[in-house]
């Protein structure tokens, strides 16, 4: 399968997000989920408004499979602006699949405060949801074999890779 270029996909996200950044209110907070989502959020931040606040989430403490998989001590800890109350948050991730990561990310966000709105922006929606979560903005949708794993690698350059999974540990 030929994969679209990451730049063109990020460009598509940026266009779809522009209206959120054009109102006269303070700009939304861009929050990327580690690690792929954080790279995308960083690029969107440069393109859309470098003055806007930027955060990242490491959701390992909130994963529902924590007792099976444990922590990733090498992943950067979460960092969100201190005040997110009544703000709009653009939550960014590379791939939307089961929906569990987004569930965990939203739980974590609400431990920081009460945002006015959360908008979910996703690079690749590959379907096969296990919980009722959907993205507001999607750059591309893809039908993938259930045994496949798609992931953003980077940060320099950003590249989408598809791997055939061994059925162990996922």
């Amino acid at each position: 399968m030929s994969l679209p270029s990451v730049e063109s996909l990020i460009e598509k996200l940026a266009q779809a997000l522009t209206p959120y950044f054009s109102s006269s209110d303070s700009p939304p907070i861009l929050v990327g989920i580690e690690t792929g989502g954080a790279w995308i959020a960083q690029q969107l931040h440069q393109t859309l408004n470098p003055e806007a606040e930027l955060g990242r989430l490491n959701i390992s403490f909130y994963r529902d499979d924590f007792t099976r998989n444990g922590l990733h001590p090498t992943v950067q800890p979460s960092s969100l602006p201190t005040d997110i109350d009544d703000k709009t948050i653009i939550l960014v991730d590379d791939v939307l699949h089961s929906g569990r990561t987004v569930r965990a990310a939203m739980n974590e966000i609400f431990d920081y405060g009460r945002p006015r709105q959360i908008v979910l922006a996703i690079l690749i929606d590959r379907g096969a949801r296990e919980i009722p979560i959907q993205a507001d903005i999607v750059a591309a949708t893809m039908e993938l074999d259930p045994g496949c794993h798609i992931k953003l690698e980077g940060p320099d350059p950003l590249k989408l890779v598809i791997r055939q999974l061994e059925r162990d540990g996922e």
Partner: protein, 324 residues
């Protein structure tokens, strides 16, 4: 080796009983994990759901304020339910044996025991007798080890000094009775500290001190020269049997850390103490409250380090999947 009881068959932490028997990789993983927990403390809701549904029992057969309360906070910030028992004031006074106490608590479906006991080896004893799936954390056993204290001390040192390889660390005082010193020395060695000095009168040194890989100084001023870290130990009056010391005043005169003596150390040296401090016995008040003292920071770091150890025991460490 008896210490293997701490690890599961894949080398991951199952109990946390002593620094001895662990390796550098695990110690570093604890420090790295603790670092990611420090951000939790800065948030509106200082809680993550890692231990949700688990029950932790704090079993303290010996008095403690700091260790017990930071273990409690750590468990609470990980969303565990926590039960704190001062055992010396309850069942054991009535003649119940250690194992009976343990079995009764196990019947309450406890997942993790945090144990402090006056007998060396008691945490190992508990670990050998708990059911599979139940973990034991040593919060100090006799004169043996106090591993979470040592790890929070390592965290503090790494926080201020970054690397261990170039460091000179002095541990001053009652080494003989100190489980903290024993754990610290093992940890500092595993983390490749350049030089570990112990400074104490002969009567307060264990007979096998040299074998621990440290250099020994009986004179405080010589020992402090050019060190990067000064760790003061508490004079453990309650553990003193026999005439090991002339008097507290005499002790302060020879081994008390004063501003003047601290000047022998490097100008950016940090001063640590595991607490509780006997002001005017092992350390002068002005040093304790001075700008080189990181004694209160140690207490704060203790929460993150204890969160790290508990979460590593519950979540099998290693690779998490990339499920999206």
């Amino acid at each position: 080796m008896e210490n293997n009881i701490q690890l599961d068959d894949q080398g991951r932490l199952r109990h946390f009983l002593s620094i001895e028997g662990l390796d550098k990789t695990i110690l570093t993983e604890i420090l790295d994990t603790a670092e990611s927990f420090t951000s939790v403390t800065d948030r509106t809701i200082k809680k993550v759901p890692i231990l949700r549904g688990k029950t932790v029992a704090n079993l303290f057969f010996e008095a403690s304020t700091r260790t017990r309360s930071t273990f409690e906070l750590a468990a609470q910030r990980l969303s565990a339910d926590i039960l704190s028992l001062n055992v010396d004031t309850s069942a054991t006074v009535k003649g119940e044996s250690l194992l009976d106490t343990l079995q009764n608590l196990e019947a309450m479906q406890i997942d993790m025991f945090v144990i402090r006991h006056q007998d060396s080896g008691s945490a190992h004893f508990f670990a050998q007798h708990v059911r599979p799936g139940v973990s034991v954390l040593n919060a100090g056993d006799g004169q043996h080890e106090h591993p979470t204290q040592a790890m929070l001390d390592m965290y503090t040192i790494r926080h201020y000094k970054k690397e261990f390889t170039g460091l000179r660390v002095a541990i001053v005082g009652d080494i003989l009775h100190s489980r903290v010193a024993r754990s610290q020395i093992h940890a500092l060695n595993l983390l490749n500290t350049a030089e570990i000095r112990v400074i104490a009168p002969r009567t307060l040194l264990p007979v096998d001190t040299e074998a621990l890989g440290v250099s020994i100084y009986e004179d405080l001023e010589t020992g402090l020269t050019d060190v990067d870290v000064v760790i003061m130990l508490r004079l453990q009056k309650e553990r003193m049997r026999g005439a090991l010391l002339p008097s507290e005043k005499e002790y302060f005169r020879s081994y008390g850390l004063t501003q003047e003596r601290l000047q022998r150390a490097k100008p950016d040296a940090i001063v640590m103490h595991p607490g509780p401090v006997n002001r005017g016995v092992e350390i002068e008040s002005s040093v304790m409250d001075g700008n080189q003292s990181v004694i209160l920071q140690q207490v704060s770091f203790g929460i993150s380090v204890r969160m790290a150890v508990m979460s590593m025991i519950v979540g099998q460490s290693g690779l998490a999947g990339g499920e999206s």
